[in-house]
Every structure is written in C-alpha cells, then in structure tokens.
C-alpha cells in the first residue's frame, strides 16, 4: 500500500513549489489515475512515488518503508524489485532488441542468461509481441514500442506499476489498445497502478481519479466503470478544496 503524508517538493530553494502537501493512500491492487493540465506536478508526484526523486518534505511510504529516508542503494533495490515504470516516450534502449530491452529489467535482479531470456520471451508474448522479439525499437511502431515497455515493466512481477502518460504519444486506436492492455494486466496481476494522464478517456478506466492542480491533489470518487471487482477502501487523505 502507498501512503503519502504531506509531501512537498520544491526546486530552486523554494522558488518553485511542484508539490504542496500531497497526502494520499493507494491500497494494494488499487488503480489511481492522476489528471491535470501540464506543469501541475503530476509527473513530479509519480517520480517521488517511484523513488526517482526525493521529496523536500513529508513521507512516502511503500509497504511501510519511507522511500524518502532510504539510501540511494536501498531505493534502487526497491525500484528493481517492486516498481515497474512505463514512460510516455517508451524509453527503450535503441541498440537492444525487444527481448533484450525486456531483459534489462531482470539484469539488476541477478537473473541469469537462459532464465532471463525465457521470462522476457514470456512477457513479450503476454503483450502480443512474440513475433517481434528480435526487432530493434526503430523497427517497431509506437504502439508496439509501448507494449515492449509494458512487458519490461511487468517481467519482474512488480507490486506497483507507475505509468507516466503511457498513451501520450499514441493515436486514438493505439491508445485504446494500450489502455485495454494495462487494464487487463491490472486485473490479472492484482497490481497497484498509478497512471498519470491528461486524457479523460484513460482516466475514466481507473478506480479513482485524482486531479492535480498547482501542486495539490484532489481525489474524486470511485469510478463506477470498475464497479465492485475490487472496491477501493476510501482512506483519509482527500484534499479539501
């Protein structure tokens, strides 16, 4: 479970307040979409939740551990084991094939050659790209590259999936495919998922939606579309507005 308490993030010695006291709880298996215009702190929030950056103030607990207080080595280990990332620009390594890109997520876990390749192949098959395993990113479409990125995020069977504008660079049809894929894996694997998006269609698929404005997060009600498959226990943390 994620628990954020009074998280702030400042840049330039207080010149920029990217986050202003965000408090939030995401239960195990919950799916939160964070919406808002550009420059309101959505990606900053995601980076702090993923341990890619440290908050200026407040606490960010993942499974009871405050990521802001862990050493760099410990945070890196948490990312390696527990957190999968999906980025807007896919962020695939251009010189590695689809399989090898997926393998990069297993390398820090000490998974060796044959096992690594087997699991990477399985992850690619799960996202429908078994026939593109040997292709370089430049030889794949945007949608295919994002599927490889999703396979890379999921191959290590993380507890959390953090996606920053996963459909931002995709056309409508591909966007629908990708979001459908994300929903499927969320259901099948009981992931805790946080998706940053400016797209209301994407946000509507999540259990809960948070609106980010000027560094503050306001949570909306449980999404009716998801229904009671896995109800989200409403926790304290809603920002009063």
């Amino acid at each position: 479970m994620y628990r954020l308490s009074g998280v702030t993030k400042e840049y330039g010695h207080g010149a920029v307040h990217a986050l202003r006291g965000v408090s939030l709880e995401v239960p195990d298996g919950g799916w939160l979409a964070v919406r808002g215009p550009t420059g309101q702190g959505k990606s900053t929030l995601l980076q702090i939740m993923g341990g890619l950056d440290r908050p200026t103030g407040g606490t960010v607990e993942l499974e009871g551990r405050d990521l802001g207080r862990l050493s760099e080595t410990a945070v890196t280990r948490v990312r390696a084991r527990l957190i999968g990332f999906v980025f807007q620009a896919f962020n695939l390594i251009p010189t590695l094939s689809a399989t090898e890109n997926v393998e990069t997520a297993l390398a820090p876990l000490g998974v060796r050659g044959a096992e690594r390749r087997r699991r990477a192949a399985g992850a690619l098959a799960a996202v429908g790209l078994a026939d593109r395993a040997g292709h370089l990113p430049a030889e794949l479409s945007g949608g295919q590259q994002q599927r490889v990125a999703i396979a890379r995020a999921l191959v290590k069977e993380p507890a959390v999936l953090l996606a920053d504008e996963p459909t931002g660079n995709l056309d409508e049809d591909t966007r629908d495919d990708i979001i459908a894929l994300l929903e499927r894996v969320w259901r099948e694997r009981h992931l805790t998922m946080v998706v940053v998006t400016h797209d209301s269609v994407v946000a509507a698929r999540a259990q809960r939606t948070g609106l980010m404005r000027d560094g503050q997060l306001t949570l909306a009600r449980t999404s009716p579309d998801v229904g009671t498959v896995r109800p989200w226990t409403d926790a304290a943390g809603q920002q009063g507005n």
């Binding site: 900053t44 980076q47 993923g50 890619l52 950056d53 760099e72 080595t73 890196t76 280990r77 990312r79 390696a80 084991r81 990332f85 980025f87 620009a89 962020n91 390594i93 251009p94 010189t95 590695l96 090898e100 393998e103 990069t104 997520a105 390398a107 820090p108 876990l109 690594r116 890379r152």
Partner: protein, 475 residues
C-alpha cells in the same frame, strides 16, 4: 547483457569509437617507434663501445700524459730548423724516420697493473699499449729567412697507422677479445717476444697484406701471422704486436716503455659492482681516468650522438604530447557520448540499475576502445620501426682522442693533423629499431590506461545523474 549492450553501443557510435581508437593508436604507435629507435641507438652506441672495449671489459684505466710528453721527438721541426741553421744537418739530407710512439696517454707501471688486479670485485685486469707508428720521409730544405715551421714541414710526408701491443695469452678483457681470426693464426705464448703481428682485416685489404707479409713497425720488421676482424662498429688498431715487443720498441718521446702500459682493461665480477670497482680504482690511482661504458658513451659524437639526443629529447616529448592529446580527446568524446545517453541511463536507473553497473558499462566500452587503439598502436609501432630499419642511413660514431691524449709539440701543419687524428676513430653503424617486449607491454599499459581514464570520467558523469533529471532530458 553486459557484452551485448557494449557491442551494440560501440556499433552504434562506430565512427566516434574508431576516431578515439585512432587517436590512441597514433600516440601509442609513436611511443613504440620512438622507444624502438632509442633502443636501436643505444644498441648502436653499445656496439661501438663493445668493440672499443672488447668482450668482457667493464672499465678501462688510462693516465693523462705528463707535461711536456713527446717534446723529445726527433722530428720536432723547430729543433730541426735550428739544426739546419747551425749546420748540424745539411739542406738536401734525406730523412726516413720511423718511430712507434705513445701519442694518446700517459703510462702505467706493472706495479699499478698488479694493484688493479688485486682490487675487490676485479676478476681480471689486462694491460695493453695503444701506439701510433709514424714514418716521416722527405728532404731537408734550405732555410729561407722568415720561414716558419709549417713551410719547413711541407717538405716532408708522413704515414701513420695504429698499433696495439697486447698480451699473447688470449684472455679477456682486452682489445683482441672481440676479434675473430679470419686467416692464419692468433698469437701463442711462444710469440711473446717475437717480431710477429696480426693485421686488422680492413687494414690488410687496404695495404694488400696477407699472412706471411712483412711490415715495418718502429723500425723493426714484423711478419704477419694472421688476419683478424672485429664486430661492425669497432675501432680496431691496424696491427697488433706482442706487448713485450711494443714495450721494447715503443717510446713516449725519448723514454722507452719498458714494463709499462697505457691502458688497463678491467672486468668486474658483476654489473652491479662496476660502480664500486670504479670507486676503488679511482682511490688506488687518483690521477688516472677510470671509465665505464656510460662515461665512454659521452665521448661518442657523430650522428649516433645526434640520433640519441633526438630520440631522447624531441622524440620522447613529442610522444608524450601526442599521447596526452589522445587521452584528452578520448576523455572528452566519452563524456560527450555519456551526455547523449542521459535519458537512457536515467531509464536504466529507474529499472533498478545501480550506478556502479552503469559506470561499469561505460568503463567497459572505453576499455574496449582503448584496447583496440592499443592493438592498432602496436601495429603502427611495428610499421614505424620497420620503416626506420628500411630507410635509416648509416650513423657515424666518432670517438675522439680521449682525455690524456697529446699532439706532438713542435709539430705543426698537416703532419700534426695526421698524427693527432690517429687518436680519433670514425665508425659507421646501421641504425635499427628493434621492438622490444617492454615496448609492447608499455603499449598495452598505455592502452588500458587510456581506456580506463576515459571510462572513469564518463562513468563519473553517468554516476552523478539523478534519475528524475535524467528522464526529463529531451533527446
């Protein structure tokens, strides 16, 4: 994963990698070529010195001449001019004077030789005489008022050749120790007081001498019993005669050389003890000159010396400059490559790659480039050395008359030049550039160092990346 990623990344920036490797190759190739050339020059110098010394000689002992040595020469022309003026010698008298003279050094006694051989760490000490045979022929001219010695001496011609008086025991050290008998035979114990001689092969060819020929040395007829040759680069005397005969017929001015030598050749028990032996001998003979190979090397002039200076100074510093430039280029280009991969490294960090794994990747890439540059540098070095072997002209080595030599006072003009030049030798040696194992090892070390240095700078940059900042970079 490591090797796959490394291979693919180097292939992606093959041109930049090749550029860096080429820079390293040029620097390393130059270092090898200069090192090989310096080794070749050292070998050339050593060949000259080796032949100068002979095999087994670690040190030589000579003595500066006493003041006024040589002043009793009977063909001191100032004296002869006086004799003509006073009527002691008539104008028109034919002169045919042949003398075997000690022109270079002062003398050392048998007791001094024995003292040298008794020193600690001295395994052998051999005495010899390095002499010059001078024959002056001509007709005494009439004296014209105001005529000086130089116009008087122009009435005479001279012929000189060098003669070494050596022990007949075939032992090393000594001037004959590096010689090979190519015709006839060497000295034997029975020849100790005989009028027999060995001729240097070059001199024998020039003078059409063979075994059985006779030659006049110091007004004594000697029979050639053998022809000898020394290794290339040597400066042998023209003739060798038994030491006892040289002591009998040779002179320093008018003083005979009975029981005297003018050079002592010394062998030490090990190379490490040569300095100690040198010190002992200097203490034993405080007025003598004790030289080892490095001392003698400083007396070798000619283009060998110039080549040595060129290799040592210009060559060394040029190599260092090119190498520093190559290393600097490698570092800058590696850091630039890391800068272009900021988002890539940020992504890997997001995936859980630790900084040291990423640094290891960067260092590995640089090391491979460095090793490739090193291999190419070794090849370039071999090519440079081969080029030197093919194109290098023969180098000259001039060993001037060493300290302690003297010209004849009162002898001037052309005759003086001929007599004093008998003490200086010019030899020609072929410059080679052998690539030694140490040069190759140096190349490998430089290649690895270049790769590591570039990788460490690039890796340091990669390690400092904050994942969030790195991911925010727009490529």
């Amino acid at each position: 994963m490591f090797w796959t990623y490394l291979r693919r990344e180097l292939r992606r920036r093959i041109r930049q990698a090749a550029f860096i490797a080429l820079g390293l190759a040029l620097g390393i190739g130059l270092v090898i070529t200069v090192t090989s050339a310096a080794t070749g020059v050292q070998n050339a110098q050593a060949a000259v010195l080796h032949s100068l010394y002979g095999v087994g000689t670690d040190l030589t002992v000579t003595q500066p001449p006493k003041q006024g040595a040589g002043s009793g020469l009977s063909f001191g022309f100032k004296q002869q001019i006086k004799q003509v003026r006073s009527g002691q010698i008539a104008a028109g008298t034919k002169i045919n004077d042949n003398e075997l003279e000690n022109t270079q050094y002062g003398t050392l006694t048998a007791a001094q030789l024995a003292g040298v051989s008794r020193q600690q760490h001295v395994t052998a000490a051999t005495g010899a005489l390095s002499l010059t045979d001078v024959t002056v022929t001509g007709t005494v001219p009439a004296i014209i008022a105001g005529q000086g010695a130089s116009s008087f001496s122009s009435s005479f011609t001279s012929n000189t050749f060098t003669v070494d008086g050596v022990g007949v025991a075939h032992s090393s050290p000594g001037p004959l120790s590096s010689a090979t008998v190519t015709a006839g035979r060497n000295f034997s114990q029975a020849d100790a007081t005989s009028d027999v001689a060995l001729a240097d092969s070059g001199y024998a060819t020039a003078e059409k001498l063979k075994t059985g020929s006779t030659v006049d040395v110091g007004n004594t007829s000697f029979k050639i019993i053998g022809i000898v040759s020394v290794p290339q680069g040597g400066t042998p005397p023209d003739l060798y005669i038994p030491l006892a005969k040289a002591q009998q017929i040779g002179a320093t001015g008018s003083a005979r050389l009975t029981n005297q030598v003018n050079t002592i050749y010394v062998s030490a028990d090990s190379a490490a003890n040569i300095p100690a032996v040198q010190q002992e001998l200097t203490r034993l003979l405080p007025f003598a000159t004790v030289t080892d190979a490095s001392n003698l090397a400083s007396q070798v002039t000619g283009s060998v010396g110039s080549a040595a200076s060129l290799a040592d100074n210009l060559g060394k510093w040029l190599s260092v400059a090119v190498l520093v430039a190559a290393f600097g280029l490698a570092i800058l280009l590696t850091m630039a490559a890391v800068a272009r991969r900021v988002r890539e490294f940020g992504t890997l960090k997001a995936l859980g790659w630790r900084s040291r794994r990423i640094v290891g990747q960067v260092v590995g890439e640089s090391l491979v480039i460095g090793i490739a540059g090193g291999a190419a540098g070794v090849a370039l070095g071999f090519a440079g050395a081969a080029l030197i072997d093919k194109l290098a002209p023969k180098l000259s080595a001039v060993v001037g008359a060493p300290s302690g030599s003297t010209a004849f006072p009162g002898v001037t003009g052309k005759l003086a030049q001929q007599v004093s030049s008998a003490g200086a030798h010019t030899v020609y040696v072929t410059l080679t550039a052998p690539v030694t194992l140490s040069a190759i090892v140096l190349a490998v070390v430089l290649a690895v160092a270049g790769g590591l240095l570039a990788g460490m700078f690039g890796g340091w940059r990669a390690a400092r990346l904050r994942p969030a900042a790195a991911l925010a970079k727009v490529e």
